[in-house]
């Protein structure tokens, strides 16, 4: 097991290397540059800017320089937010995004599993039909429709919740409600459908028939024999769900004006803020890779048939 963990951790290195290299060159080959939007900069100033950010050097040198810096944990200065380092920008915004993402994922998992169980046990009854209709809405209606719709109803009409903002505002924790619901909705829907289907499948399995033939109570059959096997697929879905939530949060942060990474991510991409984009790509990739890694380990603990060596 320890050996497996160490091997997986070591394999992070080449993966990250490829990600950094690819994105470094891809961004630079995209048309435009960090200073192209600033109109009519005197040639001398532009030259100084280029020099300051080492953009007058060859691409290869810039790459090596950048690589050296990130190895030291320095993501460099932002090209656009003057006087701000990328480290500082990410440090400022990342906790907000993480809070939003984690809450949304937790809500999606908790509600999704609960609704999936009820649906499966009440198959083809009204509870099942209601839940699955809601799930279809969640899967087919995009975030940028659900978000504004919630704003319209609960903020503008009913005035129960603030339209936008963040917990540091006067409205406090209330600001979290709509973004979390919006962001978790599609994942809740997917998890509900997935757990329903997989519980139904396990209910038909031979080993559940054996459990019933032993005279166990139906509640024991479900709790002890059905759920573990049925919910394992949810665990493996957590990796992809987390990455989906992270990208989804870019949209949600924009809709609800959350001061998170998502918002500056879009801006930095539009501005060709090379170092900021790179910094965000690196941080996101690390989170995703680590998250998938954790999911694998957890899965291995839950499924006795898997032996990591």
């Amino acid at each position: 097991m320890t050996k497996f963990i160490i091997r997986r951790l070591l394999s992070l290195i080449p993966t990250m290397f490829v990600i950094v290299t690819l994105s470094f060159f891809l961004i630079r080959f995209a048309p435009g540059g960090p200073f192209s939007a600033e109109k009519k900069v005197p040639a001398q100033v532009l030259q100084n800017l280029m020099k300051k950010y080492h953009m007058d050097e060859s691409l290869g040198r810039q790459y090596l320089r950048y690589f050296g810096e990130i190895l030291r944990g320095d993501l460099g200065p932002s090209f656009r937010y003057k006087d701000m380092t990328v480290n500082a920008l990410i440090k400022q915004s990342m906790p907000n995004s993480m809070l939003l993402g984690t809450l949304s994922l937790a809500l999606a998992v908790a509600l999704g599993i609960a609704v999936g169980i009820v649906s499966a046990l009440k198959q083809n009854k009204w509870q099942d039909y209601t839940a699955m209709s809601l799930a279809v809405v969640g899967i087919s209606v995009p975030l940028f429709v659900i978000g504004p719709l919630l704003q319209l109803v609960f903020a503008m009409q009913l005035k129960w919740l603030p339209t936008s903002g963040w917990i540091t505002d006067r409205a406090g924790l209330k600001t979290l409600i709509m973004p979390v619901i919006t962001l978790s909705f599609p994942y809740f829907a997917y998890i509900a459908r997935m757990s329903r289907a997989s519980i139904l499948e396990v209910l038909r399995s031979d080993y559940v028939r054996t459990a019933r033939a032993k005279g166990l109570k139906e509640s024991t059959v479900i709790g002890k024999h059905v759920l573990k096997g049925a919910l394992l697929p949810i665990v493996s879905y957590l990796g992809p769900a987390f990455s989906g939530i992270i990208t989804g949060s870019i949209v949600v942060e924009t809709i609800f004006l959350v001061p998170g990474v998502g918002k500056i991510f879009v801006q930095s991409a539009l501005n060709r803020d090379y170092t900021l984009i790179m910094g965000e790509v690196i941080v996101y990739s690390l989170i995703l890779i680590v998250m998938n890694f954790v999911v694998d380990i957890v899965y291995g603990f839950l499924d006795p048939r898997i032996a990591y060596k």
Binding site: D206, T210, A211, K214, G215, K228, P304
Partner: protein
């Protein structure tokens, strides 16, 4: 085997509602099981053997299935009329089952110890440690080497034959009156099959357990069973002592089955015979003998009415117009 009847199945009918129509999977099955008896149920796949036995412990998946008629009397109580909590006290305790596929019949996520002790704790009221000791003892009886160690392992660490041994140990752990074994060896290698059958025979004889052994192999029946029911299209077409049926099969279907078994003691050279035609479709079957399209001795009446059961002096009963006294015009 004694004269005491412990299980009496009377005119059992289990139907499935499907999109194509009503499947009469079991349609009027009756038999008695005596204390300590081993009863074989043979028939082609789809003839209703498994459904019969799931019906006995009232475990038909519903929907689509429904037991529409009949009685299953276990020690004078009708299992089909029992409330759920009462029949649960019988399942796994007085009547236990083993199934065909040992690879999928054990829960892959739970240790053998958990799966075995839960039954013992539930039905025998033993504590955890006592239950585990009992489980280890059962595994030892079932021929699992080093049971103290193996009991803490998971099913995937056992081979198919070993898993079926675990299933046998588990099913006999509460000392049931009846063990229902649904094709317990069909999924195993031929060499393992004999070992498992021997084990079952040995243990159930020692514990005095009556057995209902479902199989599609007449060879297995000949070696294991005192009595035998031949099923065809949801009905028992012939029933009697195994020796008598083998010596003198009455129903044309039984005759065909016995002729199609390869035999070492009869001079070879003859071609192995097989029953011509396809197993019947039991969806919306009209009133007729379902075997007549494949029967050499079919008569006019066979197409119009299901034959009444004729009884013979040796205790045999056969559902075939050839033996019926009631001759219809």
């Amino acid at each position: 085997m004694t004269e005491e009847v412990i299980l009496r199945v009377k005119d059992l009918r289990t139907y499935f509602k499907t999109d194509e129509g009503t499947v009469k999977a079991v349609d009027g099955v009756s038999f008695d099981l005596h204390k300590g008896e081993t009863l074989g149920i043979v028939g082609e796949s789809g003839s209703g053997k498994s459904v019969t036995n799931l019906s006995i412990i009232n475990m038909i998946p519903s929907p689509p299935g429904k037991i529409v008629g009949g009685e299953v009397l276990f020690m004078d109580a009708d299992l089909l009329a029992m409330p759920a909590n009462k029949i649960r006290e019988i399942r796994g305790n007085k009547i236990s089952m083993i199934f065909q596929d040992p690879m999928t019949s054990l829960n892959p996520f739970l240790r053998i110890s958990t799966q075995m002790t839960e039954t013992i704790i539930l039905h025998q009221g033993l504590g955890k440690d006592e239950a585990k000791a009992k489980a280890i003892e059962m595994l030892k009886l079932a021929g699992i080497p080093a049971p103290e160690k193996r009991i803490d392992q998971y099913p995937h660490q056992f081979s198919g034959g070993m898993r079926q041994r675990v299933m046998i140990a588990m099913s006999l752990s509460c000392n049931p009156e009846i063990l229902i074994a649904d094709e317990p060896t069909s999924a195993l290698d031929v060499t393992i099959q004999a070992q498992i059958l021997d084990l079952m025979k040995d243990l159930t004889a020692r514990l005095g357990t009556a057995v209902i052994l479902i199989t599609h192999s007449l060879g297995v029946v000949a070696g294991m069973c005192d009595t035998l029911c031949v099923m065809y299209a949801g009905r028992v077409v012939e029933r009697g002592a195994t020796d008598a049926v083998f010596a003198d099969p009455k129903h044309p279907y039984t005759q065909g089955l016995i002729k199609s078994v390869p035999r070492l003691d009869v001079a070879s050279g003859n071609r192995l015979s097989s029953i011509r035609g396809q197993p019947p479709n039991v969806i919306d079957l009209p009133d007729c003998c379902p075997f007549y399209p494949r029967c050499d001795k079919a008569m006019d009446i066979c197409k119009r009415k299901y034959p009444a059961v004729s009884r013979f002096d040796d205790g045999r009963s056969v559902a075939c117009w050839l033996y019926s006294e009631e001759k219809l015009p």
